[in-house]
């Protein structure tokens, strides 16, 4: 469980996060939705301490994360897996080395144990025979899978994904979404996902938070989202003709 209370973040005069409070539960995919530039990435990075919020509290279970020093934050981060928008695989390392990377630093496992775990994680994301390839030899979808494998390498309690579908075709997107949801449920992970993809919202949105210009203006589930009369949210969701038509045919417009 992650509890966020009243966090604020500015870059100079750019007030990016405005008084955000929200709770994320284990075994659920919580989605942060909003237009580009609304502050989703900054929020996600603030949650894990890659950005320092100006004020407010972030709780991981009963630990107040925001007052920890760097060393103590590291202890929490060892329980966090993160999938970055561009996958952020280390391009100097092979797929196997990428997934093994956190194990090399933070476990005293033998080489065999590490290899077993690497192969287990790769298999979990439906990849095989890619151990010795470099990231630039993989397709975008495969890179995301390796990114997920690396994120779950140390059995995280928390998983953060920044736009896991960006740059992927709709079919691959859905597969990645489903993979994230399965892993979340299987290991009872608290998962937070940034997205502006309506397919993801309808596919895996156990819980949705809509960010508009840095403020959290709406919370609900994927069922609520179709019926809402929140103006900005409607504008965001029904931006495309297709979504509009779906809503019309369901008699909701």
């Amino acid at each position: 469980m992650i509890k966020v209370k009243n966090i604020e973040k500015s870059f100079g005069s750019n007030h990016v996060l405005k008084n955000i409070s929200v709770t994320y539960k284990p075994g659920e995919c919580s989605l942060i939705i909003g237009a580009s530039g609304s502050g989703k990435t900054v929020l996600l990075k603030s949650l894990v301490g890659l950005h320092e919020p100006d004020s407010g509290e972030i709780w991981y279970e009963n630990t107040l994360f925001t007052i920890l020093n760097n060393k103590e934050k590291k202890e929490i981060r060892k329980q966090i897996g993160m999938l970055f928008q561009g996958s952020a695989l280390f391009d100097f390392a092979t797929v196997e080395e990428n997934v093994r990377f956190p194990m090399d630093f933070f476990t005293d496992w033998s080489d065999e144990e590490k290899l077993d775990r690497v192969n287990f994680c790769l298999k979990r994301v439906n990849l095989r025979d890619v151990n010795s390839l470099y990231p630039n030899e993989l397709s975008g979808g495969m890179q995301k899978r390796v990114g997920i494998a690396r994120a779950i390498a140390l059995n995280p309690k928390y998983l953060f994904c920044d736009e896991p579908n960006s740059g992927l075709d709709p079919q691959t997107s859905i597969l990645i979404d489903q993979l994230i949801r399965e892993i979340t449920q299987e290991y009872n992970i608290t998962t937070v996902i940034n997205t502006h993809d309506m397919n993801s919202v309808m596919e895996i949105g156990d819980k949705l938070c809509f960010i508009y210009k840095g403020a959290l203006v709406w919370e609900g589930t994927k069922d609520d989202v179709l019926k809402t009369d929140h103006a900005e949210l409607n504008e965001f969701i029904f931006a495309s003709n297709m979504a509009r038509k779906v809503k019309e045919s369901a008699g909701l417009l």
Binding site: K45, V48, L50, K74, E75, R77, K78, I80, M82, F84, Q85, G86, A88, L89, F90, D91, F101, P102, D104, F105, F106, R150
Partner: protein, 246 residues
């Protein structure tokens, strides 16, 4: 002015997290060997070529300036040795390395920054600055002084080669000149300068890469800035070290 002070502060803070004990010595050793290969060994050829040519040119220039029969011919060897050891093999080579190695480092680290690879390391609880930068600084600072030595030897050989080819003076005079009142302290002085310059090049270009922003354009910008600033600092510290040591 305030901006400059802020940048210096940011640089010092970064160095504070770079200059600590590595998270894993085993991995550090591997990276250290790797960086020695990349930053030092892969500079050998350019240093070698430039040194041979410059040694030859210094000999020609000095010889053509020494038409006065009262000045002994061995002066050519002496002058060549002094120019090489005092200035060329440390400062000039360092300026060349600032271009070659500096842009390599800042674009490598900069692209890791903008593709969030550095964030990914931090998320794994790793001290990314230490992990990425310490192997580079230590490899270059420890081994580049040997490049200075190499450059010195090859510079002298380049001089010998041009004498052999042109007979502008005799090789015997040249060698006498090289041995004339030889101060080994100068070699120590020059190697010290090279170590200092290598620290400047690697740390400054790592710094600009580490804080790169603004996409690939930003990486290009920070790489240019890294070369300019480290070149200027090399010139300034050349003055300071020379004042202290000579």
């Amino acid at each position: 002015m305030i901006k400059a002070l802020e940048t210096i502060g940011q640089y010092l803070l970064l160095m504070k997290s770079v200059l600590t004990k590595p998270d894993s010595w085993k991995i550090f050793r591997k990276q250290f060997i790797n960086e020695t290969e990349k930053l030092v060994l892969q500079s050998v050829h350019i240093v070698a070529i430039i040194s041979v040519f410059i040694g030859a040119v210094i000999v020609l220039q000095t010889a053509s300036n020494l038409e006065n029969p009262l000045i002994p011919k061995m002066y050519v060897g002496y002058m060549t040795r002094e120019s090489l050891v005092l200035e060329f093999c440390s400062t000039m080579i360092a300026l060349i390395l600032a271009g070659k190695v500096g842009s390599n480092i800042s674009s490598e680290i900069g692209s890791m920054r903008i593709t969030e690879q550095i964030d990914a390391m931090e998320m794994m609880g790793l001290n990314s600055a230490n992990y990425l930068i310490l192997p580079k600084i230590s490899a270059a600072t420890i081994f580049n002084p040997l490049l200075m030595l190499l450059s010195f030897i090859l510079g002298l050989l380049g001089g010998a080669l041009i004498i052999y080819l042109t007979n502008i003076i005799t090789l015997g005079h040249y060698i006498d000149g090289i041995r004339f009142s030889f101060k080994s302290y100068y070699i120590f002085y020059s190697m010290t300068k090279m170590a200092a310059f290598s620290f400047i090049i690697t740390s400054i270009s790592s710094f600009f890469g580490y804080y790169a922003t603004g996409g690939s354009l930003g990486v290009g910008r920070s790489s240019t800035r890294a070369i300019v600033i480290s070149s200027v600092l090399i010139l300034v510290f050349n003055l300071v070290i020379t004042h202290l040591m000579l």
